[in-house]
């Protein structure tokens, strides 16, 4: 992927994040994620119906990578079954950790395929996924 396109997608999702802002609804499960190695602090809420992810929302303070990854992750995971979502998350984690992964499953999340070059940013890219994994378990 062209580096400029990659950056544009990240910035667009940072500046106009999808589903940012929480709602008070008891059909959602909630978790807070702090990044041990930096200062990202995000809340995630998820609504599952019949094993299908109906909605995910997030809020908090975080860097461009964490915020954009939350936004793109949410767009990717909505309407997936729990198992499909977990498979996407596993493949995404493998991509960040430089292990073999299925590129076709990740769609727009492929913008983070070079994050491994910035080790201090890896946790930022993973934080939202760890949050959702926690909520799905």
């Amino acid at each position: 992927m062209d580096n400029n396109i990659r950056r544009d997608i990240i910035i667009d999702n940072y500046e106009n994040p999808f589903n940012k802002g929480l709602i008070d609804d008891k059909n959602y499960k909630k978790t807070n994620m702090n990044n041990e190695s930096c200062i990202d602090n995000l809340d995630f809420i998820i609504k599952l119906e019949n094993n299908i992810i109906k909605d995910i929302r997030f809020d908090g303070q975080a860097c461009a990578i964490s915020t954009s990854a939350s936004s793109i992750m949410i767009k990717t995971l909505i309407n997936k079954t729990k198992e499909e979502a977990l498979e996407i998350i596993t493949n995404y984690e493998n991509m960040i950790d430089e292990k073999p992964y299925n590129k076709d499953l990740l769609n727009e999340l492929n913008v983070y395929d070079e994050i491994y070059k910035q080790p201090n940013r890896k946790k930022c890219a993973l934080l939202p996924f760890w949050g959702i994994k926690k909520l799905l378990k």
Partner: protein
């Protein structure tokens, strides 16, 4: 002041502006520490041989040097692992025995976690009240505002000398002398002031003070707890073991040594103590007044240039210390720090361990530049040039 060549860490083109987190160590400090491991690597007090006596003398000499540096008595200097441990010791082994249910501690929302968390834990355990001193419109602590909070139950005022985010200097002399007259204890976190501004413990009349060597050009893992002699006599011991006991028998009759030895059980961080001594001598050679003026001049230079950049909010433009805190509109502070790292410039982003300061400054996370003795106007120019870029966010990715 251009002394970069005296620091091996600065032999590359690194622009290091995170000196409030830790400072680089001058070659002379490293040399003295290396001498311990290569010329007289012995334990102190425990050997009737020459190299052990050398080490013994070096520890004594370091303690004297620290005492002279802050104008205290030698036996009022306790070696610890750093500011955090020093504060924890005095809170858990002195104040926990002195402060009783309903007693009040005065502090502020601008303090570091290493001061607030020990106080919070003690407050919960002993059912004490933590009261926050009102910060004035300049984000300063004033004696008048402290007086407004004092009641008959106020037993302790616990503050940083210089805060680690806003870099304001607290009037410790006024506070120490006032508190002393009113039978209120004082505990000062000097982590950010030591090595940057003259600290005279007798003049300030402070009861307890804590600081670390690594923020004053010395090694990590070594710090100081200062306490007035009569108060240290009442403290602990908080740990027990070798060297701090005079004698004991099988019936558990124990006699402990006097301060400061009584409070330093076990083998000391000898190389750290030696490094701290060398760091103080290095600071003295440059001169504390000159360091203070250097920090002030460089921060003024930095702030004047920052003000000319669009969309920058400076939180502490009018302070006198080398700590300058800012945010760039629409760019998260961590992205700014990552971008600057790509330009070989090290600054800090985040809450800087002052996690309730946002209740005062309204922002949780900031960029912090903190100046050290080796920084130059050229360093600031490189930082400013990088911050003038309109594409910081994009280039941080």
């Amino acid at each position: 002041m251009n002394i970069k060549k005296e620091f091996k860490m600065l032999s590359s083109n690194l622009i290091y502006l995170d000196n409030a987190a830790t400072t680089f160590k001058p070659n002379i400090v490293l040399k003295e520490m290396n001498k311990y491991y290569t010329k007289y690597c012995a334990n102190a007090h425990r050997g009737d041989y020459k190299i052990s006596h050398i080490v013994n003398d070096l520890i004594d000499d370091s303690r004297k040097e620290v005492a002279k540096f802050i104008n205290s008595n030698t036996n009022e200097i306790i070696f610890t692992s750093g500011t955090t441990e020093s504060i924890n010791i005095v809170v858990s082994s002195f104040f926990s025995n002195i402060l009783k249910k309903g007693d009040e501690i005065l502090t502020t929302k601008a303090e570091h976690s290493s001061l607030l968390l020990p106080l919070f834990e003690l407050a919960k355990k002993n059912k004490l009240k933590i009261k926050y001193i009102t910060i004035d419109k300049n984000n300063h602590v004033t004696l008048d505002n402290i007086k407004k909070e004092i009641t008959s139950k106020t037993k302790l005022i616990a503050l940083a000398h210089i805060t680690n985010v806003l870099g304001d200097i607290r009037p410790v002399k006024e506070i120490g002398n006032y508190a002393s007259k009113h039978n209120i204890y004082t505990l000062i976190d000097a982590a950010q002031s030591i090595g940057h501004i003259k600290v005279d413990i007798k003049d300030t009349n402070i009861d307890f003070m804590a600081f670390s060597a690594h923020k004053m050009y010395g090694p990590t893992g070594i710090g100081i707890l200062f306490g007035k002699e009569k108060l240290l006599e009442k403290l602990g011991p908080y740990k027990y073991g070798g060297d701090m006991n005079a004698s004991y028998d099988s019936n558990m009759n124990i006699e402990y040594k006097n301060i400061p030895t009584r409070l330093e059980a076990g083998t000391q961080n000898i190389v750290g103590i030696i490094g701290l001594n060398a760091a103080i001598k290095y600071i003295n050679k440059i001169g504390i007044e000159q360091i203070y003026n250097h920090d002030k001049e460089l921060r003024t230079y930095l702030v004047d240039k920052l003000k000319k950049i669009d969309n920058i909010k400076i939180y502490n433009p009018n302070e006198k210390t080398g700590i300058v805190t800012f945010n760039i509109d629409k760019v998260f502070c961590q992205d700014v720090a990552v971008y600057l790292d790509k330009k070989n410039v090290c600054i800090r982003a985040g809450s800087h361990c002052a996690k309730i300061l946002h209740e005062i400054i309204k922002d949780k996370n900031t960029c912090r530049v903190s100046i050290g003795i080796y920084n130059t106007k050229k360093d600031i120019d490189i930082l400013i040039k990088a911050l003038e870029n309109k594409n910081i966010l994009k280039e941080s990715l």
